[in-house]
């Protein structure tokens, strides 16, 4: 094998597994610095703290792979959480959750329609819906926090199955399901094709607009699901909930190696991206480093992850 071939193989190997390598290296370094880090309690803690962003990021992964972008999911989390709480005054909590997921799907469809049919660049289309949805949250809540007291509903965010908190189990199930859909179904294959080369996909007979919209619907449903977990965990929702979450979700996906230009990605690696972000916060808290420094460090991690890919892509 020639030199360049070895090099490109190495680059593609590192590209695929660098996040996993980085994850374990970082975990090792942190555990040497803080003895509590590797305790069962702390590990469970990291997973649970990752669950809301993690669920949201599953959707973001689909959207980005399909060549889109969705920054409305933070607002959608707030609306879903508020409705999940609010609707329970008139219906069973389970029914409320179903309604909330449908609302998420509807806003996802709207985002997909604006991006694919009206041809608004996705980041701008979802900037618009982000603002609209946040407005609806204020209208729905009247600007005040909402509270709920329902044992069944509280289980989603606070329950345990055996020693493991339910949100973690939910997260892992959804990650597995997402990964399965991405790799094993026509929808997953088409999403990658559209993000990889929209025109070639169109000329292959793929209904590009339809499948792109489906990725946004997946994004909306996952955002709604994360809103349900959020509401259940806190049993209350303020109109400000979820602000900035969309950025963490996107960061998880790209740190996990989802190509920003679309076509490539993995839900499992997105999960690791989300865990990595939480781990940084967690470790900094354990060590007792200032919150402000954490932001700088997180930013550097994002730049390092995306920079690696972009640099190698540009060099061919």
């Amino acid at each position: 094998m020639s030199g360049p071939a070895v090099k490109s193989r190495l680059a593609s190997f590192l590209g695929k597994y660098k996040i996993i390598i980085a994850f374990f290296v970082l975990a090792l370094v942190i555990s040497l610095m803080t003895p509590n880090f590797l305790s069962w309690r702390n590990i469970i803690n990291i997973f649970r703290q990752s669950s809301i962003i993690g669920i949201m990021a599953i959707g973001s992964t689909f959207v980005i792979i399909g060549g889109g972008f969705d920054i409305s999911v933070g607002s959608l989390l707030a609306l879903s959480a508020a409705m999940a709480v609010g609707l329970q005054s008139s219906m069973h909590w389970f029914l409320a959750v179903i309604v909330v997921l449908l609302v998420g799907a509807a806003f996802g469809a709207a985002n997909g329609f604006l991006s694919s049919k009206i041809h608004i660049p996705p980041i701008i289309a979802t900037l618009g819906t982000m603002t609209i949805i946040r407005g609806i949250v204020y209208m729905y809540t009247g600007g005040y926090p909402l509270y709920v007291d329902s044992e069944g509903f509280a289980f989603i965010g606070n329950g345990y199955i055996g020693p493991i908190p339910f949100p973690i189990i939910l997260l892992l199930i959804l990650v597995a399901l997402g990964q399965f859909i991405l790799v094993k179904t026509k929808f997953g294959r088409y999403s990658c094709a559209i993000g990889g080369n929209k025109e070639a996909a169109r000329l292959s007979g793929i209904k590009v607009d339809f499948y792109m919209t489906l990725t946004f619907i997946a994004g909306g449903v996952m955002a709604a699901m994360s809103g349900v977990v959020y509401a259940s965990r806190l049993l209350s929702v303020t109109p400000l909930a979820g602000q900035g979450y969309e950025l963490d979700a996107i960061a998880s996906a790209v740190i996990g190696g989802t190509s920003v230009s679309g076509g490539e990605g993995s839900v499992v690696r997105t999960l690791i991206g989300a865990l990595l972000l939480t781990m940084i916060t967690n470790a900094f808290n354990l060590i007792g480093i200032d919150l402000y420094v954490q932001y700088v460090f997180k930013g550097l991690v994002i730049l390092a992850a995306v920079g690696f890919d972009s640099f190698y892509k540009a060099r061919g």
Binding site: K186, C192, A193, N197, A200, R202, L203, G205
Partner: protein, 513 residues
């Protein structure tokens, strides 16, 4: 500055330039020179080396050997930017202006006039007016480029060249998308430049223009210079013969499997897709390979895309097996059994990030799915491997990323992906572009084999020789219309003449009407 035997001053001299690419000798010891203040035509078929030669001159490619003298001094430009600064500019076919900038902003882009670090609109306006006066241009400096017609945009590019004091302007098919009036206007400008001592190297396919405005003609063929002639001392016949060279009659005998007694698989009736496709009608029969050839820009690709529904035709009918069909999108065409292998496999044909097998099964993925949308990967592997063997696709494994394959193998992947869905009609647009000789002949065999198995193929190419080689029947397209039809075995020079003269006839008709 040196002079030639006729005593004319030479601005550009190219001596024994050679350039090769892997597997191809693109230029073989080419000599040519350009006199000061002349319009010099550079002619040759596709692949004869015209664009490689100009790229070597301006430094877009680095020549393997030979020398270039510019203004009497040996030069070797490292990039087109450098040659542009030194006074050799190129006006490319594809426009290179910024649409949202004004005329003046485009002209001075990269060479803005400044006074103490700030842009000096006043100085630039003065220089702009100066250019307009001395060359007789009439353009508003504040007009945005996207509001201008194609011809006016060419003028802006010429002004940009002049603003850097260009002494040689290379024009690559400048009239390709111009109307007759616009072309006339351009010719006036060219003569104006000439009278100011500026030299023009004029690349074109249209012989009428050559005889109208050029002083000398250099003909290239297969990377070699055939001859340089004074335009006044030659004629169309001689030039065509020089371009085509010896005509080979070694077209192998193939047994045609076309069934002309059966109803056509597809009829195309009066299809129009402006500006490139004006009015095209033809039939394709079962088991037939229909070749379509014509010059670059004659409308071949646009025709293919219209039949496939990639771009909806303005008007006309497409009839598949006796039934009129509406092809509004590729999905419709595929449902009718029509497939397209697009001209540009990288941007339109393949998903480069995908593993090879995913590209192969993409259009027919529903054949590999059980229950709602679940892909049966094992069956995909089997099918992909079957086609890999059948088409002799050379790769390490079907799990390789498509981008790591050679051009010829990538093209075979595109063919495989469409064969898998067994289309009734396969349209191949420039299917052998940029691939090596061996892969080319393999693709010809595949095409013939398809016809023998009863499929129909439309084989589109601007290389007449390969169209002759695979086709049962050949249509020649010029300027968006069918201008000739040939049976298998027609002479290459006759076909080429038709292709070359097509545009001229069309222009004549315009004058009459």
């Amino acid at each position: 500055m040196s002079r030639d035997t006729a005593g004319s001053r030479l601005i550009l001299e190219v001596k024994e330039i050679s350039k090769s690419f892997p597997g191809v000798q693109a230029l073989d010891r080419v000599d040519m020179d350009v006199r000061e203040g002349e319009v010099h035509a550079l002619l040759g078929e596709n692949g004869s080396g015209k664009s490689t030669l100009t790229k070597c001159i301006v430094g877009a490619y680095q020549k393997d050997s030979g020398t270039i003298l510019y203004d009497g001094k040996e030069t070797s430009f490292s990039s087109p930017t450098e040659s542009f600064r030194q006074g050799i500019s190129v006006i490319y076919q594809e426009r290179s202006l910024i649409p949202k900038f004004t005329v003046e902003q485009n002209i001075f882009l990269g060479d803005e006039m400044q006074v103490s670090g700030l842009l000096s609109e006043k100085n630039m306006r003065k220089r702009f007016r100066g250019l307009c006066e001395s060359y007789g241009f009439d353009l508003s400096p504040d007009e945005k480029i996207f509001r201008l017609g194609v011809a006016q945009q060419k003028v802006v590019e010429i002004m940009k060249a002049l603003s850097r004091n260009s002494r040689v302007v290379i024009m690559d098919e400048p009239t390709a998308s111009l109307s007759k009036e616009e072309s006339d206007h351009l010719f006036k400008i060219i003569l104006q430049l000439k009278s100011k001592g500026i030299s023009i190297l004029y690349i074109t396919h249209i012989l009428e223009e050559v005889f109208r405005i050029t002083d000398r003609i250099t003909v290239l063929r297969d990377g070699r210079k055939v001859s340089t002639l004074n335009t006044a001392e030659t004629d169309r016949e001689e030039i065509v013969n020089l371009m085509v060279g010896e005509v080979f009659h070694d077209i192998e005998d193939i047994s045609s499997s076309a069934k002309y007694d059966l109803p056509p698989v597809t009829s195309v009736k009066n299809v129009q897709k402006l500006p490139r496709v004006r009015d095209i009608s033809f039939e394709v029969y079962p088991g037939e390979v229909l070749g379509i050839t014509g010059l670059t820009g004659s409308g071949k690709t646009e025709l293919a895309r219209a039949i496939f529904g990639a771009e909806k035709a303005d008007s006309g009918e497409i009839i598949v097996e006796g039934k009129r069909v509406n092809l509004n999108s590729p999905v419709d065409a595929i449902n009718e059994g029509i497939a397209l292998i697009p001209e540009d496999r990288k941007s339109d044909g393949l998903i480069m990030l995908f593993e090879v097998f995913k590209n192969i099964t993409l259009p027919a993925i529903s054949d590999f799915t059980a229950t709602p949308g679940l892909i049966l990967t094992k069956r995909e592997y089997v099918k992909a491997n079957e086609y890999r063997e059948r088409l002799n696709i050379r790769l390490a494994s079907i799990h390789q990323q498509t981008k790591f394959l050679s051009g010829g193998n990538q093209q075979k992947v595109v063919i495989a992906k469409w064969l898998l869905s067994s289309p009734k009609l396969l349209i191949m647009d420039e299917a052998t572009q940029g691939i090596d000789v061996k892969a080319k002949s393999e693709i010809y065999s595949i095409v013939r084999e398809l016809a023998e198995n009863g499929f129909s193929v439309i084989f589109i190419s601007s290389e007449v020789q390969e169209v002759q080689r695979v086709s049962d029947r050949i249509l020649v397209i010029a300027d968006g219309e069918v201008v000739g039809e040939f049976k298998r075995g027609a002479r290459q020079d006759e076909i080429l003449k038709k292709a070359l003269s097509g545009k001229q006839e069309h222009l004549d008709n315009q004058v009459v009407s």
